[in-house]
């Protein structure tokens, strides 16, 4: 499963004027994570030490081993709430606090070791099981995930 975006190739610059192309690579396996989000899938990287990092990164946070595309694994869409907070203020792009009333949760996706910080779309409590809610039209960006909601028992 090798996904390589050819548009990401960067020309070498010679002399002036320097042209900023605003291209940035997310990295070999983070790129796959973003691509797979278009399909509504969550991928993590499983290290040989057993640690599952999500979003996948090229160095295992626990044992520091180099990870690559062969370490990628699809993760379930469900997880457990480790913590939650009722957010009463958020910041606009200039840093002004503005009132809000939303819920932020720390979620451990089943089978993963990393924590994801996501919005909760409905009231949830610590230890609740939750599932990821996706946007209809996905673009391969973090915003494709709208948040989490409780799993009906």
């Amino acid at each position: 499963m090798l996904i390589k975006n050819k548009d990401m190739a960067v020309e070498r610059y010679e002399g002036f004027p320097f042209v900023a192309r605003f291209r940035w690579t997310a990295g070999e396996i983070y790129e796959v994570f973003l691509e797979k989000m278009k399909e509504g899938k969550i991928f993590g990287a499983r290290c040989d030490c057993g640690y599952v990092v999500v979003p996948p990164r090229i160095i295992c946070p626990r044992c520091l081993k180099k990870l690559d595309q062969s370490n990628l694994v699809e993760l379930p869409q469900k997880g457990v709430v480790l913590s939650k907070t009722d957010v009463k203020f958020k910041m606009d792009s200039a840093g002004n606090f503005e009132k809000t009333d939303e819920i932020l949760v720390a979620v451990k996706i089943n089978g993963a070791n990393s924590i994801l910080f996501l919005k909760a779309l409905e009231p949830v409590e610590i230890d609740d099981e939750v599932e990821i809610v996706w946007k209809e039209e996905k673009e391969g960006i973090p915003g494709d995930i709208l948040g989490v909601r409780g799993v009906k028992k």
Binding site: A26, L82, F89, I115
Partner: protein, 370 residues
């Protein structure tokens, strides 16, 4: 080779729209030199701590060379907390230089420093979440901690109350509320449950400086010194790959500092501490990581009053960060407050702590002796 603090000076923490960064750095550096009884010519190396992000310009020390007295001298800059600059200065002194001036500053009034915390987030995922910042992350950690160890909001408010009461007596503190009550804290505005206005540190302006010297210089010039007996620093992973209930890097930093200063039981062997608790709940977690008590038992230290100013192990007699968070300068304020108390004979040994990053990713601990 021992290193001592021979001079220090800190400006009152404030919001001063009239004072430039250069002016406050100049005042702090000049004050510390005067306190040490030294001249600019006596200083071999200058280490400044400031942040490009907070100052809004790259190479934030470039405009401070005149103010810090570094002109045509050996000079370097440490990002992040001023205590890390002190650690760097110690390394400089142990390798070559004889005296060092460390100066740190932050001016918060021009912008909201909490916004800068969002630039510490992973740009590809977490930074796209508009709700995520240092305050909401602290709220998540606080709730996880309170849930796991049955800590009440009142326990957290008691930690804030202790520090705010102490801050009200500190002329350098930014937030001084005389006669502050527990109810006022518990009724203060909620930013993100359970973090309230009075259980989080108020960002403010500040500048502070210390002069360090090698033991031989201190003896030659007959300087008055507070000795640095031990230092430890450690850094943890990014927030996604950390246990929200642990301050592992602080535990490691403290262990190193204790080993270096020959401390086995910090609660018995150290007289008092100055810690950087950006949020009141962190003070409880800091107690545990510093091994002042077992995991989850920080609330009992607060409830029993052991860490009050007249308790057996006073923590934050200055008011700590609840009295004002001049961000980069915060660690130097903690160091200076502790050195001041040692010089006044309040205690013989002190612990100084500061932190940096989201959910205290980096921690640094000093052990001082009179």
């Amino acid at each position: 080779m021992k290193i001592g603090i021979v001079g220090f000076y800190a400006l009152p923490q404030t919001y001063d729209v009239e004072m430039t960064r250069e002016e406050s750095v100049f005042a702090a550096a000049k004050g510390a030199l005067k306190d040490a009884g030294l001249e600019r010519e006596d200083i071999d190396t200058v280490v400044s701590a400031s942040s490009d992000f907070y100052d809004g310009r790259t190479i934030s020390s470039s405009m401070l060379i005149g103010a810090s007295g570094a002109y045509l001298k050996d000079e370097s800059k440490a990002e992040e907390d001023g205590l890390f600059a002190v650690l760097y200065a110690i390394q400089r002194l142990r390798t070559y230089h004889r005296t060092a001036l460390v100066v740190a500053h932050t001016h918060s009034w021009t912008f909201n420093p909490h916004k800068v915390s969002t630039f510490m987030l992973d740009p590809l995922f977490d930074r796209q979440n508009e709700l995520l910042n240092d305050v909401t992350l602290a709220a998540l950690q606080a709730n996880a901690y309170m849930h796991s160890y049955r800590v009440s909001e009142e326990d957290i408010a008691l930690a804030a109350l202790k520090n705010l009461e102490n801050a009200s007596r500190n002329p350098l503190a930014f937030r001084r509320i005389v006669g502050i009550t527990l109810d006022e804290i518990l009724d203060s505005e909620i930013y993100s449950t359970p973090i309230r206005e009075l259980t989080m540190a108020p960002c403010c302006d500040g500048a502070a400086a210390v002069v360090l010297a090698r033991e031989d210089v201190i003896e030659d010039l007959s300087l008055d010194a507070v000795w640095i007996e031990g230092v430890g620093a450690a850094t943890d992973s990014y927030i996604r790959d950390r246990d929200l209930l642990e301050m592992n890097s602080l535990g490691i930093a403290a262990k190193k500092a204790y080993e270096m200063s020959g401390i086995n039981n910090p609660l018995d062997e150290i007289d008092f501490a100055e810690v950087n608790e950006r949020f009141a709940y962190q003070e409880l977690m800091i107690y545990e990581a510093l091994k002042l008590c077992q995991k989850g038992r920080g609330k009992y230290l607060i409830r029993s009053g052991i860490t009050e100013r007249d308790g057996d192990f006073p923590v934050n007699i200055s008011g700590g960060s609840m009295g004002g968070d001049s961000i980069i300068a915060n660690g130097l304020y903690r160091l200076i407050e502790a050195a001041k108390l040692i010089k006044r004979g309040f205690g013989e040994k002190a612990l100084v702590h500061s932190q940096w990053g989201l959910l205290a990713q980096k921690n640094i601990v000093f052990v001082l002796r009179g």
